[in-house]
């Protein structure tokens, strides 16, 4: 088990009013992402707990791209990873912000 944490400045606050979103499953080759609106508007944090060790450089790149593309200001992400490939990680993160940017109904 390896834990990683990345903190970034985000260009803008993530739209929407939901305070939390969760997507994915903890399974081999998959991951679960919890997004919470708990940080100041220009900040973003991604905490990762992963079963696959030694992929820090790839995580760092995936997270940096994600922050640049989605600008998830104000969000803290907690990832429970079962050894997902980077494409799956990027997809789940994109799905998480899509969920949280929807307005609360």
């Amino acid at each position: 088990m390896e834990t990683l944490s990345y903190r970034h400045r985000a260009q803008q606050r993530m739209a929407g009013s939901k305070s939390m979103a969760i997507i994915g499953v903890v399974a081999s080759g998959n991951l679960e992402v919890l997004a919470e609106r708990v940080l100041p508007d220009t900040e973003c944090q991604v905490d990762i707990s992963t079963a696959a060790e030694g992929f820090g450089a790839v995580w760092e790149a995936v997270v940096a791209d994600f922050v640049e593309r989605s600008s998830p200001g104000g969000l803290k992400f907690s990832i429970n990873d079962g050894g997902a490939r980077p494409d799956t990680v990027a997809l789940r993160l994109a799905q998480a912000v899509r969920l949280i940017e929807e307005n609360d109904r």
Partner: protein, 548 residues
């Protein structure tokens, strides 16, 4: 005085030698080894029918049992090297030289034997190319073929897996060669005549059907969300804007995902009747939901697929069928259709380099190509226009006057940036090059050349190589969809951004694709059982796919 009919005389001698082990045209399985030793000569060029799907397995086993002291140095010319016996004959010294197209299940062993010098390799061909050579410089002396049934005159019924047979027989029988067919049984009257009896010299009743592999069955249960996202990119970013009506799909999960998204995602985009109406395609079970939803007008097939027989029979408006009701496939005609009549080929590969060359050959596996290099190439002899072809041509050559501008076939490579076992799809250098050096080949076994590839689709986006104007742009467009592979991480971010602004790279967000749609619920069938139900129980999945 020069003799001008030596081949016919030689065939007559072979028939006389063979007849000593036959009753009329019928050879008993127990006499097969003696029979083959009688009709074969050392150094003969032999086509042992090994197609993509059906296999002349009884004849293959008998050939592997002949005495190498009597029969040796055969030159095998066959499209598929599929059965262990196809290589056993090289190990035993019965055969020496090989010209072929595809070796899926034997890919690792054929690599070992090539390295070990047990096989003298002619070339790895595309199907149509090997068939073409049957008529020019690789005409078989003997063809050992497979059919379902025969009558006493040798008329053959192939059933739905006609595949290569008419082509092999045409080349062999009309050029002085000998044709021997294995069938399950000899009957009074065949259900339809696929091969006329006067082209067939001997028939072996094997007592059981030839071996055939369900090569085109993809279980929807194994399709991932990344593959669904990639399929959505292809549909919205390629099929829709180019208006692709005539096409061929490869056999991977990525294209299976596209087939299963047509009735759901494609319907939502209003594409029914506008794309995917005419196909050169094996009867993929994953196409059933699209056919049932009214997407497909017609499909011509290279071969059949195990379990699809009754479904095809009940859908003769869609498929080509004979007077007996079953499918008539033909690999040579369908490959020609895929080359000249389709506007798009889309398929997977194992390795793509920085100029877009792709290959399924790795250092330890030589799988061959099958039909991919044929369908995945731009036919320079094409003359009829179509909307997608003209549009692609205009993208590639915007400055050429329209009346003098060739169109372009869309040749699309699709895959996830990391494939099976996390192996990256994108590489600095193809292993095919290493292989060519090791085996001292004149040509590296490239499946699709970079200058034929028009688009590369991954979950990260679509690279449109038609819009790239030089090597650097091409390289960066490829890096720009290579995700987190080393190739992808080595991109020039600024240049990739510029390519994106020009539309040479398009990402899911550029196309308005919602990542939340990348969900297995979007598949029109999520299991083999769903496919069976969608077919009205006409599709009969083979046992290994029945997991309920």
């Amino acid at each position: 005085m020069k003799e001008w009919a030596r081949q016919k005389a030689a065939r007559k001698a072979r028939i006389e030698a063979g007849s000593r082990h036959a009753r009329g045209k019928a050879v008993a399985v127990t006499d097969l080894q003696d029979f083959l030793e009688a009709v074969l000569q050392p150094g003969d060029r032999v086509c042992l029918e090994g197609d993509n799907q059906k296999q002349a397995d009884i004849l293959a086993a008998a050939l592997a049992d002949v005495d190498p002291a009597k029969i040796h140095d055969l030159h095998m010319v066959q499209s598929g090297v599929v059965l262990p016996e196809h290589l056993d004959i090289f190990e035993k010294g019965i055969a020496r030289r090989l010209d072929y197209s595809y070796s899926g299940p034997q890919a690792a062993r054929i690599a070992r034997m090539l390295f070990g010098g047990q096989i003298e390799l002619g070339a790895v061909h595309t199907y149509l190319e090997l068939f073409a050579r049957y008529f020019v410089d690789l005409t078989p002396n003997i063809a050992l073929i497979a059919a379902v049934s025969a009558d006493a005159d040798g008329n053959l019924y192939t059933g739905p897996n006609t595949e290569d047979t008419p082509t092999i027989v045409e080349a062999t029988s009309f050029k002085g060669g000998l044709v021997v067919a294995q069938v399950k049984e000899i009957v009074d009257k065949v259900p339809r005549v696929d091969i006329p009896g006067d082209q067939v010299h001997f028939v072996v009743a094997a007592g059981k059907p030839f071996y055939v592999e369900p090569l085109f069955t993809r279980d929807p249960a194994a399709i991932t969300e990344t593959q669904i996202l990639t399929a959505m990119l292809a549909i919205k970013g390629l099929y829709a804007p180019y208006g692709i009506r005539r096409l061929n799909h490869g056999i991977g999960f990525n294209t299976a995902a596209i087939e299963l998204l047509l009735p759901t995602y494609g319907e939502k985009l209003g594409l029914r009747g506008k794309v995917c109406t005419h196909w050169a395609l094996n009867p993929h079970p994953t196409l059933i939901p699209a056919i049932e939803a009214g997407w497909v007008e017609q499909v011509h097939c290279f071969g059949s697929e195990v379990g699809m027989e009754d479904y095809i029979r009940a859908r003769s408006d869609i498929f080509f069928t004979g007077p007996d009701g079953s499918l008539r496939s033909n690999r040579a005609f369908c490959q020609t259709a895929g080359l000249y009549s389709c506007d798009m080929f889309i398929g997977s590969t194992l390795q793509i380099d920085l100029q877009g060359h792709s290959s399924t050959v790795t250092a330890s596996r030589i799988a061959g190509f099958g039909g991919a290099p044929n369908m995945g190439s731009d036919p320079r002899g094409r003359r009829h226009p179509s909307e997608p072809w003209l549009k692609a041509g205009a993208e590639a050559n915007p400055d050429t006057p329209a009346h003098m501008r060739r169109g372009r076939k869309l040749v699309v490579q699709i895959g996830e940036t990391f494939g099976d076992k996390n192996v990256p799809l994108f590489v600095e250098r193809l292993e095919a090059l290493t292989l060519a050096e090791k085996l001292k080949l004149d040509l590296a076994p490239i499946m699709v050349y970079g200058d034929d590839v028009t688009h590369i689709v991954t979950e990260e986006g679509i690279a449109n190589l038609l819009l790239c104007r030089d090597r650097d742009e091409r390289e960066q467009a490829i890096r720009g969809v290579a995700g987190y592979t080393d190739i992808g991480r080595g991109r020039d971010a600024k240049m990739v951004q510029q390519l994106r602004e020009r539309g040479a790279i398009r990402r899911p967000e550029d196309l308005g694709i919602d990542p939340l749609d990348a969900d297995r619920r979007l598949l029109a069938a999520r299991s083999i059982k769903d496919l069976m139900l969608a077919s009205g129980a006409l599709y009969a999945p083979p046992p290994q796919f029945r997991n309920w």
